[in-house]
Subunit: 290 residues, 4 copies
């Protein structure tokens, strides 16, 4: 977020450091408080959906909800206050999430019947992404993301092939199985094919004819074996990423040996000083010896 | 397809480049149009199988279908026109798919009751294979295919062992469980064994006796642990394939040996200096020796 | 089978080569015939268990079965004839399987009611193991078996830990869930725990209380994440086995560079002759040059 | 447990070696006896929960149970006797497990109705941990644990992302599906989302609307593909751990740096010749230079 620099020194700068950064102790405390508030507020939304709990604690939930809404509104206000271009922030991913976290409650004042809208508040979990990104996991994350990006094209190619198989086997079973078994349309048969291929196996729609069960078994074995492909691709890329993080590409200028760890200073084979741009400190010592 | 060269210069050559290749902007536009047509036409076949939608939009679906059929027929005509040996194309894999995409609709004119035949139109998805092959995924694909081919024998050997286990455990459960539980025949018990071993677990046939449930649990744990084998085999081959991407295409100037690793400086077969543009450092040393 | 040498030259030796080995064309033909007979005979046992088919083709199945039994009995007779110690063979794994393949049918003559015994004939599939072992898959197999043996202890340790978890979570759910949900005893709860942890999920016993469903979800996530362990262990060992098959452990005597492919003769780094026990052929050439 | 040294020589020392260690033949016999007792006692707890078996063998189970309780109490007494700080042991993990193994039975004397308490005895399986730790699996275990610890943060990061997805998709399906399908509250919808994402697929709650089934299919494919991530991460770390087994324990005689690869000849930190028993070949060369 290079364009979100603080607007000036003083209060706004300090607020920016607390709210948007995570270096100082105060900023870390703010992050933890925010995580807590988000988790509790999401839990309240969930519990509020349980009929029994709502009947008993509905009033309390509503009070808590207003507390969270006021707190998140105040937080959003502070965020906007300490930014130079608040409107630009509101249009960013995190700005939209911040708005969606408070809007449903405020709107419920105007449109009292907008019950289903309240579920949107569950999107508050996405606010955790910001805090997590700021905190300690960044190093681990980049490694994961690098491996994912590298394998994404292979996995995409693989999944489009799988989708074709799903289409063909789904249609086949639609032809073979009677409608009583639940295969009333091709989309339903595709739903069955995905349930089977991913080895989920709800059992809400199952083949009843012998041929249908045979095709079913084929789809299962395919789904079982096919799982090896995305896993193998991702494993291979993960191993490559970890190796690249730990081993240098440079060869030893003395003997050409490769695969030195990144922090190595001397070749482990021939003892040559690896960094060609600086001088070997031993030369100095050796000079003194004579 | 080396035998499918265009029949002459001019219109047919240009048509060939647009339809069969993917280099020019026009050819790419044609590919995208084709992808769109295929996807929409397959979607129509699917939606047409839903009773509610058919009742309401059946007439529209039929019109659309004729549109697609005419378009695909025209495309096939153009393909055949710009080829030297059109009959040979019709007997190739893609030719058969092209025919199967349009035949059912045309046949429905002659044999009005051939309802179930219409599902064959879903095979149109296979036409996507041609377009995908032409497009950008080729590099990624060869890597995947190479790893799959290399691991195929190991995985085949593994699966034949698994099939024996399925046969034995299926027959065992057929002996133990009563017919009321659904295990009415050995083929049915094998179906159950595959449903269980692949961890799909429909639940349409489940053991009800304690011994049957114990054997069931064994099959589950086997299926769970066994999954590691194809995954491990494919992972290992994938890593080998990625590593070998680092092999150079250059042959040794001394003995013509190929498949040197990219960082190799001397041929591993005959010891010749591989980089023809610089001088072998050993010549220098040898010179000093004399 | 070093003790199973042929008893003499002539007919018995030639029979031994055909039946127990797989080098000559005749022996390969015999293997293929055997595979075919085994597969068809197992298929007949399976189909015979289907009530509808038995009612219609029962007589044919019985005739076929006697054909197979006579053929397998003749084969066993020939095997025993051309061995020096036939009794020793009968007590080996393959000998027992051979006996189990024919005994049930012969016994059905004496004890006509021994219906359930006939399922034992399905063990004929195990006879495929012998043929597969003789044929082409051996190279692939040893690699698989080596990786499996190496990872077996780690995976065993892992599974004993998993079994403890299953015991504890199974007992926990037995305490929490009412008997109406199907958790009528601890063994049944353990069956549920295995069904859930292995992600099979029959759905024949499912938790109905909120706490039970929460624990359920925990077991599922554990089972989902835990799958990574055997897979990771086996992948790692497989990669090690493949690497060891392709790369030599020896370092170059000139520069100490490692990781040469097994068929390399010169170091790819410094061009040194790798095999210290023989002389570099280039020395010869160089001598001639002068 | 460095603070648990034996209190004196003689009987207590010998008891300590038998009970707490695993080197002598007597100690190994004691371990095996303990494993046997634990397994049988856990089996009795399990079988005792089966109504049919309890009705028939209830009296026998109770007698056996008292036998186990007396044996385990005696064992705990001996353990405490041969330790210098018995109270400290009682507060350790294994001490608590030992207490929990015998308390329920003793308490049942005082509070006869405490039936459900008896299930606590199943925690005796945890006592196996101690024996397993002492025995042969330690080397394999540390490798597993090291790879698990290294991948734990990446997998944790991954799972928190997955939990967000579960929350969002669970709420989405709660909005879309009617309560009749079983999605009566958000927590229930989350339970469904976990059942689906982990590919368990009980089928106790399944979507019935087409849109719900479409979202369902998306969650399944996500769960199927996502499995590759923890597996890939753990595989990669496992390979790293196996490779690092090849690290030497020896420190550099020059700078004390540790963690050299086994084939290293020079310290990668300071370039010192690592093998103290032979001479650095460079000294030779250097001598010639002067």
């Amino acid at each position: 977020m290079p364009s979100l620099r603080p607007a000036g020194v003083g209060l706004r700068t300090r607020l920016f450091q607390i709210i948007f950064e995570s270096d100082t102790r105060l900023a870390k405390g703010f992050d933890l408080l925010l995580i807590g508030l988000i988790l509790v507020s999401v839990a309240v939304v969930m519990l509020d959906s349980v009929a029994v709990l709502r009947a008993r604690y509905g009033e309390g939930f509503r009070l808590l909800e207003w507390g969270f809404t006021l707190a998140f509104t105040a937080e959003l206000g502070l965020r906007l206050y300490c930014l130079e271009r608040p409107l630009r922030y509101l249009r960013s991913f995190y700005g939209v999430i911040d708005l969606l976290s408070i809007l449903p409650t405020w709107l419920s004042l105007l449109i009292p019947g907008a019950q289903s809208l309240l579920v949107v508040r569950i999107l508050r979990v996405l606010r955790l992404l910001r805090v997590l990104r700021l905190m300690e996991f960044i190093g681990e994350g980049t490694l994961l993301v690098q491996a994912l990006r590298r394998s994404s094209r292979k996995i995409l190619l693989f999944f489009s092939t799988v989708l074709m198989l799903v289409t063909i086997f789904g249609s086949l079973i639609y032809l073979i199985e009677p409608a009583e078994a639940g295969f009333t349309s091709i989309p339903k048969a595709l739903y069955w094919a995905i349930v089977t291929l991913t080895t989920v196996g709800y059992g809400d729609i199952t083949p009843i004819t012998p041929i249908g069960q045979f095709i079913s078994a084929m789809v299962m074995v395919m789904g079982y074996a096919i799982l090896a492909v995305p896993t193998g691709v991702f494993s291979a890329e993960m191993i490559r990423s970890i190796r690249e993080q730990h081993y240098s590409d440079e060869a030893c200028p003395g003997c050409g040996h490769e695969g030195h760890e990144r922090d190595a200073r001397y070749c482990r084979r021939c003892g040559t000083w690896l960094d060609e741009e600086t001088e070997d400190p031993r030369h100095h010592e050796r000079g003194r010896d004579h």
